[in-house]
């Protein structure tokens, strides 16, 4: 968190010194992206708030915590594969998941499969790459996401 504040301030000051106009263009673009994503972010936050209320923390740690085993990992990979959530929303969501007791492995599997596997966009991918390559890339990415999550989990014990 401190790193981010320092990094943002340094970048801002450097940018202002080098080119004031460019800096303001950049700030405007950032603000515009923020406003575009705001509704999606708020919806996800409200859904998570409802979910956390309905599902007790004990259940979350049991099924998605560090001792949850294969079930949590596979469900994270499946949910990540079929979802279309922009990274700007996915990372805040992942932060909340961790604070609610979800393991880093499960979060990593979810995030990675979300970004690498595209079930909903598969028809589009087939149009570009053909069936054979599109299916294979998604299958490999699915297992790749699980491997990445497991490897990260080793370092968070």
């Amino acid at each position: 968190m401190q790193i981010l504040i320092v990094a943002a301030l340094i970048c801002l000051v450097l940018s202002l010194i080098v080119d004031r106009k460019k800096t303001f263009t950049g700030i405007k673009r950032g603000a515009k992206m923020f406003l575009t994503l705001l509704p999606a972010l708020l919806v996800v936050l409200s859904l998570v708030s409802i979910f956390i209320y309905l599902v007790p923390e004990k259940v979350i740690t049991e099924y998605l915590g560090s001792n949850s085993g294969a079930l949590g990992i596979v469900s994270a990979a499946l949910i990540g594969s079929v979802s279309l959530i922009p990274g700007f929303v996915a990372f805040p969501l992942a932060g909340i998941m961790v604070s609610q007791g979800v393991s880093y492995t499960v979060v990593a599997v979810f995030i990675t499969s979300l970004m690498m596997v595209g079930t909903l966009t598969l028809p589009l991918e087939i149009k570009y790459f053909g069936k054979k390559a599109a299916f294979m890339r998604n299958i490999l990415s699915f297992f790749g996401a699980i491997i990445i999550g497991l490897m990260i989990g080793v370092f968070f014990r």
């Binding site: 950049g26 700030i27 805040p92 690498m116 890339r137």
Partner: protein, 172 residues
Amino acid sequence: MKKKLLRDYFWVILFAVFVLGSFIFGFEPGKMIYANFRQFLAEIVILLPLMFLLIGLFDVWVPREKIERHIGHGSGPSGMFWVILLATVQPGPLYGAFPVAYILFKKGASARNIFIYLGAFSCMAIPMYAFEIGFLGVKFWFLRFTFSLLVFVSIGFIMERYVGKDFKIMAG
């Protein structure tokens, strides 16, 4: 404009009405859900402006065209380096990378490098680092970065063998 705003915020407004109603009629679950919401929002609200500031600055300062010029020169290790670099400066959903993959293919990039490009595009976009570090920490970011790199470079090699020599990308 107003209609669009209403459509974008439809679910948010619905949630707000639900919360407001819960407070008026003393509906306890609604109040507790709002307490969760406020806590989550507070965790995010401080970080988000900083992140979008960084993304905006990144957008105006990184010369994408210069990197694009290097693509297609050979399909060896240096080609791999340039496709990864190109991928990391373009944030966005994976399907945004498909048209670029077609252009890379036209420019003579190998199947391996094209699939490495797709992998790098999906997990290594630099603008997302601010988000990942802010919400999950430097350690998580570093580990995921390293292991993703290993995994999608391997996927590139496997895909190259799997699709064979007559591999081609259509214009979508």
